[in-house]
């Protein structure tokens, strides 16, 4: 269920723009912040708050990679494998993460902590290879650094 706070924020966002539809992406981001993903129910609630059809909201949500349309782990581990990162060993980082987490790309660990995905360029090419975990960038990765990061995240 979308919280009352999020509903109120969506109404404020609608008033902020010259046209209320412009608030759709921020509204979807707000809804995702609450549950970590956009369930069909969440999409319907956003549609209702926005005054749009669920089909339109679903169509928009499905276009953008940052909107999760299925549950993800507490930590969404996103490894850039585009050119600059792959030139500097992104593939090894992915393989290492797969081994350490015991999952394939696209899967979530059984304890629900980590989901591993490969992503496109995140604008961190000068500090490659890199990964983004939820909102945080981790750059200049090595296998040892990845182990440290996983350990820190597990402790949190």
């Amino acid at each position: 269920m979308l919280s009352d706070k999020a509903r109120a924020e969506i109404q404020q966002l609608k008033a902020r723009y010259p046209h209320p539809n412009s608030a759709l992406l921020p509204a979807l981001a707000l809804a995702q912040e609450e549950t970590g993903w956009l369930s069909p129910e969440a999409l319907e609630e956003v549609a209702e708050a926005m005054g749009l059809s669920p089909a339109q909201v679903g169509s928009v949500a499905s276009f953008y990679t940052m909107f999760n349309r299925r549950p993800v782990g507490r930590y969404l581990v996103q490894v850039c494998t585009n050119i600059s990162c792959s030139l500097l060993g992104a593939e090894h980082i992915v393989e290492h993460l797969k081994r350490r987490l015991g999952i394939e790309v696209g899967q979530t660990t059984s304890d629900g902590l980590f989901t591993l995905v490969e992503v496109e360029c995140l604008g961190s090419c000068g500090t490659a290879p890199m990964m983004q975990v939820n909102d945080v960038y981790y750059e200049n990765l090595t296998e040892e650094r990845v182990d440290q990061i996983l350990e820190e995240l597990r402790r949190q």
């Binding site: 010259p18 992406l25 585009n82 050119i83 030139l87 090894h92 496109e120 360029c121 090419c125």
Partner: protein, 423 residues
Amino acid sequence: MAEPILLRNVGVPNSHEIDVYVERGGYKALPKALKEFKPPELVDLVKRSGLRGRGGAGFPAGVKWGFLPKGVYPRYLVCNADEGEPGTFKDRVLIEHDPHGLIEGIAISCYACEASKAFIYIRGEYETGAQRLDHAVQQACQRGFLGKNIQGSGYDLDVIVHRGAGAYICGEETGLLTSLEGGRGHPKLKPPFPASEGLYRKPTIINNVETLFNVPFIVERGAEWYTSMGTEKSPGPKLFCISGHVNRPGVYELPLGTPLRTLIDDYAGGPLDGRPIKAVIPGGSSTPMITPEHLDVTLDYEALAGAGTMLGSGAVIVIGEGTCIVRAVERLAEFYRHESCGKCIPCREGTDWLWKILHRIEQGNGREEDIDLLLDICDNIGGKSFCPLGDAALGPVMSSIKHFREEYLQHVRGHGCPFAAQG
């Protein structure tokens, strides 16, 4: 360049805070612009400076501003901060380290274009950047550099930081507008161009972060100062992002017209571990790659066009010997296939086939005729797709076949990739 202009605040502690920005001479150009210039005079100044769009296309910014239809309001200005061209990370540096420099540039540009509302469309992944911009907008409003009656001039400006949600196509200006209007990021047909009919079908100017960032310096120091740097047709300083197989990757500021070799050797510390260079992608992933005999080319719009490639976003990707070109190109094809918005058939189907064929060649299942088939598909995308994304997908494929056809054949004849894993 002895003294950086665009990067002057980068590396200074708390450079994203307004006090530091003001202390270092910031927010002087905006009051000057409001006091000493009428909007058309500013448009004229930027035209005379020769400032060209830094997002990739290189279109003169002042000329673009001049396309706004007279007497039609409201007008909007959108700052394109949807940096996503692989290899490009310059706007992120400016946004995170000098958000007020961007806001000052936006405010002056909005005044010049007589826009009362501006949007900064920042890619959703740039969390730190978006937070810093939100904070900077708030600070600028408190100090009277944004909001109502800016510096007592009677000019009002509202700036909204709008976050994207992960789609490369939204860096294309009309895709960006559709996204900002709350839709899937599908490009719109041009004409009408956004300057006459853009956001909410109102006159809209869309400029890249770095482009807008240049404006305060031009106002403060003049068009003549600006044209004294760079080349005649490509004036001013430019940010270059260099990545891949070099010792010191990063963002460097150089005058346009600097030799590529100078950037690689003197700034980026030369090829990584002395490994010979195999190819260079000079302007972001979509620009055709060049081979080492072209390292003396100068980094400006005209010279790179002469070498059969483009300056693009200024993202130089250095590829060292030992790298499999087919695999690198396959990875780029995968990117364009993933980012194609699906609106038009040549791009949607074509980028998918490019990847499939490159993948089978890399896996050792290719046929000799696949190489020409790739070129045939390129021919069916080029100039036939709805927006520039389709064309962008072709640069790496066509240039790699031109320079490295033998390597493609090796994959086919040897039924596999002759190179070890990358990295």
